[in-house]
Structure formats: structure tokens, C-alpha cells
């Protein structure tokens, strides 16, 4: 590892804004998002996640706690958690330092207005407000 790689300064708690704009099934975007949120919680930062477009379905109530069973491997006996279950777990683990926001227009367009408890459906014009309040903001994915 070269000397130039270590450019970290003392880490204060920051407010991180992550906007997720993408369909969760198209790539590993969803996995990366969950990993980043988990790492940010562990590091002690505050996170605001804004989901837009297809990402609003990550926390749909209809997903339940587990993914549908794999009928090709029904004897496996284990059930993979749904994205809604994972997000609920992250919110519980964060103990107040994670806010999960869902764009209302995108949720209405996709018929996922019934969201799990703990997430907040928000008007789209609040996006800029939340971005401005954060210390660092990043948008992941594309519509």
C-alpha cells in the first residue's frame, strides 16, 4: 500500500445523504447500498437515504419478511430475507441515525404506496432540502 493512499483525517460524525435511483434487480446496486449504510452506521455517522424510481419498491410492505421460496431447491430449508426486512433491520440497528425516505410520486407511479413501518414517504421537492442539509451527498444508480 503506497503512502499516498492514506489521506484520511480525523473522522467527525457526518450527515451523509445517499439518493438511490435505480431498479434494485438490475445490478448489485442494492447490495452496495445496504453495505454502505451498514458501514456508515458502524462508523457512527447519520445517514439519510432517499429512494426514487424503482428503488421505492425496496421497502414495499407487500414484500413480507422473506423472498419467495426457490422451488427448484425447496429442500434447502432456508429463506432469504427480503429487502424490506433488511431495511427494517438497518433502521433498528441505527437507533435513530438512519432516515429512510421514499419519494411519494415514484411510489404512487409504481403502486408501492404501502411501505413498511419506519420509512417515511416524502414529497419530491424535499430532495434538495435534504441534500443541502447533509455534509456529503451522493446519488447512486440511474432511472
Amino acid at each position: 500500500m503506497t503512502q499516498g493512499h492514506w489521506r484520511f483525517m480525523a473522522q467527525d460524525k457526518k450527515q451523509i445523504f445517499i439518493g438511490v435511483i435505480g431498479d434494485p434487480y438490475e445490478s448489485d446496486l442494492c447490495t452496495s447500498l445496504f453495505r454502505m449504510v451498514d458501514a456508515a452506521i458502524t462508523e457512527g455517522h447519520e445517514i439519510v437515504v432517499w429512494t426514487c424510481c424503482g428503488a421505492t419498491s425496496l421497502t414495499a410492505e407487500a414484500l413480507g419478511e422473506t423472498k419467495p421460496r426457490n422451488l427448484m431447491d425447496i429442500g434447502a430449508g432456508h429463506a432469504c430475507p427480503s429487502t424490506a426486512h433488511i431495511v427494517r433491520g438497518l433502521i433498528d440497528e441505527a437507533d435513530g441515525s438512519l432516515r429512510w425516505l421514499v419519494c411519494r410520486y415514484c411510489a404512487e407511479e409504481r403502486g408501492v404506496t404501502c411501505q413498511i413501518e419506519g420509512v417515511q414517504i416524502t414529497a419530491p421537492f424535499k430532495l434538495i432540502q435534504h441534500m443541502n442539509q447533509a455534509d456529503v451527498a451522493m446519488i447512486m444508480g440511474q432511472c
Binding site: M1, H5, R7, F8, I16, D28, R35, M36, V136
Partner: protein, 175 residues
Amino acid sequence: MLSASEDIIAVWCWAPAESPLMHWSLPVTDSKGELFRKDNHKEELPSRVAAAVRTPRPLNFFWEKGCMSTYLLIESRDFSENPDVDSLLDTAARLAEAGHTVDIFFIQNGVFWARKGANRRIATLAGQGVALWADDFSLAGRSLSPQDIHDNITVAGVTTLIRLLTRPECRPVWH
């Protein structure tokens, strides 16, 4: 009114809020470095600013010389799925040339760029001072080991990504 005989140097540039020039409207100076406001009222610039303004500079002087920023470019795609990846590497090279601190973090399919021999630009970017990282989870998911990775790239986890992201004044770009 300004006379035709005076040597007027108009300095128009975009400068960030912390630049001293942002405190002055319509920064038009004569050859002595004295500032003329819109109402032609002469005011003397601070000597260090006057010296900088007096010396001819390209319009992006303040951007290049006085406004170093930290950029975190996160590449999640391989060239085979999106040819735009090359433009991100171009951007990183130009930012590094301009003196900014640049980190590229390869994640998801972007880790295919991290393989040895995958792209000759990796060595060039490392030579320019760009820090290169590859996500360990993404590598493992694609059956790539640290031995398969270019020598100039550091294998790191997502905690490192968060630490890079939360550096002061860091500007992240997810691609």
C-alpha cells in the same frame, strides 16, 4: 469614467465563495491593480490579491491554483456494459493534472478494471497521483483474488469507502 489611456485588465473568473475576489463585484482593475467598482469608485485591493491580479493568468487560474478539492469517483460498471467508463477515467486524469486530490473506487462490475492487464491507463493514473481502490466483496463475488489485481490498486472494504466519502469537502460521484 475610465480614460482610454489607462491599461485596464478585466479579470473575469468563477471563484468559490472563500476566494477574496468574491468580495468584490465586477473585478476590473487597472495596471496598478486598483479595483474599479461599478460606480468607478477606486478601492485598493489587499496587496497579495493585487499582486495576483496584476500578473496575467488564464481565466481558470483560481480554479487551478487556489481551489484544490477532493474527489471520490466510484466506478460500478465494466466497459462491456457501458463505454462511458473511459470518460470517468479521463475525468480523473484531468482532475489530477489540475492538482486535485482524486480517488477512484472500483466496486461491483467496476472491479474488472482492477485486473492486471485490464487497462493500461491504471498505471498512468497511479503515476499521476490518483489513489486506486477495489472493493473486496465485489472481487470475491466475481472470483477475483487480490493476486489478480493490479499492483497500484489497493483492495479495501466498504468501511474504507465510507471513510473516503466523509473526508472534509469530498465530492463523490457514483458512476
